[in-house]
Amino acid sequence: MDSPSSENLFTFLSYSLANFQAAFFRIPGSAVLTRYVKSSHQDDPGRTLLEVILALFVIRTLLQSRTRTDRSGGKHFIQFSDKEIDDLVDEWTPEPLDPPLTEQQEADLAAIPVIAGPTGPKPKLMNTGKPCVNLASLNFAGLAGNEHIQQRAIETMRKYGVGSCGPSGFYGTIDVHTELEQRISDFLGTESSVLYAQGFSTICSVIPAFCKRSDIIIADRGVNFAIQKGLQISRSTIRWYDHNDLSSLESVLESVAKEMKRRRSQKHARKFIVTEGLFEQDGAMVDLPKLVELKEKYKFRLILDETLSFGSIGRTGRGLTELYNVPAARVDMIIGSLAIGLCSSGGFCAGSLTATSHQRHNALSFVFSASLPALLAVSALEGINLLVNTPSILNNLQENVRAARAILDRLDCVTIPSHSASPVIHIHLKTNSTSLHPSTAVVSTKPSNPSSVLPRDAANWTWDAETEEQILQEVVEDALAQGVLITKAKRLRGQELVDPRPSIRLALTSALSKKDTEKAVGVVRSSLIKVLGKRR
């Protein structure tokens, strides 16, 4: 209807097109391009279309990525003038990074035991200057202070220096690392293994190296902090089963299997079970044969954290696989710590060659961190040799465990959730009647919700973490006054997925004689009775 203006528009368009064409032909090489387009169009018109679509797609993605970073605030973005921004900047007062410590924190800080000189079964304490019997440090096999290991460490240091000065990929793979990896896999009976520079960081990296956003993990509700962090980084779908309750695991496996059948998109999801051999939170032990049977039945892969059990459980310290006589090859990945079982430092993951070589390229704390100092690798190696050659070490440990349990089990003001063979013994306070920690296992009939990490009877828990921590700290101090060093299980309350119940954690060692152990545990027992008696 408005013809003159549309005519104008048309002339303008054709004019600008001509201009554009002229400009285009001035660009060197443009003739080649047109010739190319023409000839290809002649040969195959479909291809031109395809190429145009491709070009458009490239432009679109380029634009998109740009806008994505620019947009930031999205539709909530508010436009401010420079002046307003300046005012807002002036107004903004951040919270302090270092707020003053609370009284409780000060007390906690002061109560951290510091050992003067070498650690061992009877070290000297910094705070008191007096020697004490050590039931706090993790020295299960009594390797701390072993002269032979020290000598080998010194020799190694003379040959290799201390630090490796580089990640494994970049000339940080020392021959002793390879040797130790070989030794570990021979020891456990797996195809291969891979070393990490720190025990804690091992499983945090192993889990996300395999488990991606689309994968499914079934985990125990009581897994340790490192696993929790690994799960968090992985972003996989996580289903929980009741702590150390394999029938709960089976029902979760069942429901996940059903769910996966329904959902096509999950057909190729990787499926993992992640749990611990000997639980760090309470010393419970998993029934490995049953667990392996379940995982094989439902075709899940098993990542078993043996941080505490490697070097302490089984005849020669191979861990749960040795205790239950399950071939380690049936567990897909075993994670262990060289720091705890072997009194050195570092961690490892043992499994199939596919699994370990994948980690060498993809596990973050392996790829992006300097490798373990050679002398620590050799110390660990010597630790394994000692365990293999001297089975009496762990035999003594078990005797000490039995002796300790004989004393503690008869005490009725506390409950002990730990397995009877566990060299770490957690002591919970017993509260009256209804309060139930899952480990005290009173069966409620309602199954728990696998999507929530909260245990089914969390609502019934009546214990108060703060008072219990206080009481237990009193026990710790009382025991220390009598020359026995013990510790509470230290927790990051508020950062754990479910705060575990406060406990005292005894770590037994074969370096103490049975008599010394009995005496020391006796002291703990009397401290418990004394402090708890006062409270009643």
């Binding site: 900047v89 003053p100 003379r158 021959d175 720190q198 804690f200 892969r301 050659n389 990051l492």
Partner: protein, 687 residues
């Protein structure tokens, strides 16, 4: 224990390897070596005798003759400067210096670990010059054909890989079993990850994960290997090769098996054992930790510090304790994986800004402060800016003066990861803060690692006393991660003390057993004012006796100055040869751009096959952007000027072969000869 005495087959092959090595090397080099070695030996023993004669009294108590080390503790007989027990030949020019020492020169290091270099001309001070731009990285682009061929190479690699996969999965199902769902299990590795590893990385696998043995010092021993199946697996050849090591993060050359630090570590192991058995909060703390933490705090100029047993974990377990929900982390886009790990665990929001771009940072700061939290627009609780002092892939230095200016205006908290810069930068080795002459009090959190400059392992975070106390109680490391081991702690103490120098024991009680040496307010203030000063003798364990050169700080100073010289010399030299390099000229990390993935392998191989074999680190995607594959040299104080000459010469030849010189135009280039002769001119900024 009876078992321990038996030397098991698993024991590391300390002694057998010698003989094996000798056999294999003896053949190839016996013809020429004796003359070199013998003449050098005699020259050196004469020098030794002269120095012993002349030093009557001067070095009376701790006389350090030219050859034998003063390590009285070591019983090993191979403890001489010359004989590391393995090389007798010098055909590769690595075992002995080119010129034998004179009578005045007293070297206490093994040349293969820490090179002998007495020429005071080859020294420089690492310090910011106003005349030198901080962001000196006018990144030069290569010609288009290089970029094009790079892209095409990747394209071919990817297409070939897919074709091979396609055919392989059908014809050789067994070999590809792990990649496909089998008997109800999904493949263990995701398709992309495994494709990248199998089809791209495996082709260059020979450049990575090379097993080594011995000290990662100036030279290192490669355990030779070969592959018969295109890098799917390797077979060890049973021989070793000594190579010039310009790859390890050994900036100050403290990776040593001999010398004062190593002696201290030996004593430390005897006194403290190998481990402290447990986490810091649960009975794994020893007085050594407290001592080391106090010394670290003093070293970096903060009130207190906390140590973790792994550098990676320092970031990944402590950042979550600093910030959480409702806080914002602003992170440089090239920050290290460990920082990203920690940031993801923290639950805080994250924004990234373009690498070292202060304009982008300021714009981002203005935006985030004015907008507040997403949706609710509540103001952020805290904003934490995380940058690195020296970026490990780029060699760039953070523009700290500008960051501090922004910090004053925008009130955010500043976290600097000094993993690579601590010890390696600054006239006193106190890192990037020292380099720019900035008071450490302007930085809230100084993080660093001991893996690099100190030849140890682990990391630290330093800050205000309250902040560190919070970290002790709230970081994941405290209750859950193993404590740092005593040998590593002693290495840190000894190396750090020798960088600082130890001030002679003063009137203050030298009880090294005080729990927190910076406990009282006045003493901590006194310490602060003397930053960066020597370590008070009371701060290092009283059983630790360092040789005089270490404890008076002269050797530490020397190392810092040698590193600064070497870094600038290599960087400027490569520039002058015509290569494209990145980063700050003072950075000990020198990346040299290769671009084409095929050249990475070639460069690596050609450097290794030279008369003086050199090992280099090549890095490619995903550590760098796809096109800018590079080699990364890590210069060390242990290198001599001659070593850098060797590297420059090698690069010159290989660079011509591989067409790598696309930096400055040919007319402006210098010849290698000219560069080696006029090194001083190059290093000093006026050049």
């Amino acid at each position: 224990m009876p078992a321990s005495a038996r030397s098991s087959p698993m024991a590391i092959n300390l002694s057998p390897s010698h003989s094996m090595f000798k056999k294999s090397r003896g053949k190839s080099s016996s013809s020429q070596s004796p003359s070199d070695a013998a003449s050098y030996l005699s020259a050196v023993s004469q020098a030794d005798a002269r120095s012993r004669a002349s030093s009557n009294g001067k070095f009376s108590s701790t006389s350090t003759p030219a050859l034998s080390l003063s390590s009285s503790v070591t019983s090993s007989s191979e403890d001489t400067v010359l004989r590391t027990g393995e090389d007798e030949s010098n055909h590769d020019g690595l075992a002995f210096p080119a010129t034998p020492p004179t009578s005045e020169q007293v070297f206490t290091t093994v040349h293969t670990e820490f090179g002998h270099c007495s020429n005071e001309g080859y020294r420089y001070t690492s310090q910011h010059m106003a005349s030198e731009p901080i962001e000196a990285i006018h990144e030069r682009d290569p010609p288009y054909y290089i970029l094009l061929s790079t892209y095409v190479s990747y394209l071919i690699l990817i297409c070939l890989g897919h074709v091979r996969d396609f055919i392989g999965k059908r014809l050789k199902a067994k070999a590809y079993r792990e990649l496909r769902p089998h008997s109800g299990y999904a493949p263990l590795t995701s398709d992309f990850d495994s494709f990248y590893t199998r089809r791209l990385k495996q082709r260059m696998a020979e450049c990575f994960n090379q097993p080594v043995t011995g000290v990662a010092g100036r030279t290192i021993m490669l355990v030779d290997r070969t592959s018969d199946d295109q890098n799917a697996s390797y077979r060890l050849l049973g021989t070793r090769t000594r190579v010039l090591n310009i790859s390890s993060y050994n900036y100050l050359g403290f990776a040593q098996g001999k010398g004062g630090c190593a002696d201290a570590v030996e004593e430390g192991i005897r006194r403290y054992g190998v481990s402290t058995c447990g986490s810091r909060l649960e009975g794994g703390s020893s007085d050594l930790h407290t001592t080391a933490e106090a010394l670290v705090a003093k070293f970096v100029g903060k009130e207190d510090a906390i140590i973790a047993s792994m550098g990676f974990a320092t970031n990944s377990t402590m950042i979550p304790a600093l910030v959480g929900k409702g806080c914002l982390i602003i992170s440089d886009e090239l920050n290290h994986a460990s920082i990203r790990f920690g940031v993801r665990l923290s639950g805080a929001s994250v924004r990234m800004f373009k690498h070292n771009d202060m304009k982008a940072l300021e714009a981002l700061l203005r935006e985030v402060i004015s907008q507040g939290q997403p949706r609710t627009h509540r103001p952020w609780k805290k904003i934490l800016l995380i940058v690195e002092g020296l970026y490990s892939m780029e060699g760039t230095m953070v523009n700290l003066p500008e960051v501090i200016k922004l910090k004053q205006r925008y009130k955010f908290n500043l976290f600097i990861d000094e993993a690579h810069s601590i010890g390696a930068l600054g006239p006193n080795g106190r890192g990037v803060v020292d380099y720019f002459g900035i008071d450490p009090k302007h930085v809230d959190i100084l993080m660093g690692t001991f893996t690099k400059s100190f030849g140890a392992a682990g990391g630290y975070i330093a800050g205000s006393k309250t902040l560190i106390s919070h970290l002790r109680l709230r970081s994941h490391s405290g209750p859950y991660a193993e404590a740092m081991t005593p040998p590593v702690l002693v290495q840190i103490l000894a190396s750090m003390a020798s960088i600082m120098g130890v001030s002679p024991a003063s009137l203050t009680s030298s009880s090294h057993t005080t729990l927190r040496p910076v406990a009282s307010n006045e003493s901590s203030q006194a310490l602060m004012t003397s930053h960066p000063g020597p370590a008070p003798a009371s701060m290092i364990p009283n059983w630790m006796t360092l040789p005089p050169a270490l404890s008076d700080g002269s050797e530490g100073k020397n190392r810092l100055r040698r590193l600064a010289f070497n870094a600038r010399y290599l960087h400027r030299g490569l520039d002058k040869l015509g290569f494209i390099t990145y980063g700050h000229p003072s950075s000990p990390i020198v990346p040299l751009l290769l671009f084409n993935p095929g050249k990475m392998c070639m460069f690596h191989r050609m450097m290794l096959r030279r008369k003086t074999p050199i090992i280099v680190v090549v890095v490619a995607y995903p550590a760098t952007p796809l096109v800018t594959s590079r080699v990364r040299f890590c210069v060390s104080a242990s290198h001599t000027k001659e070593d850098i000459d060797i590297v420059l010469r090698a690069c010159d030849e290989v660079g011509d072969w591989l067409d790598l010189k696309h930096g400055i135009p040919a007319a402006e280039r210098w010849t290698v000869q000219k560069i080696t002769e006029r090194s001083g001119e190059l290093v000093h900024p006026s050049a």
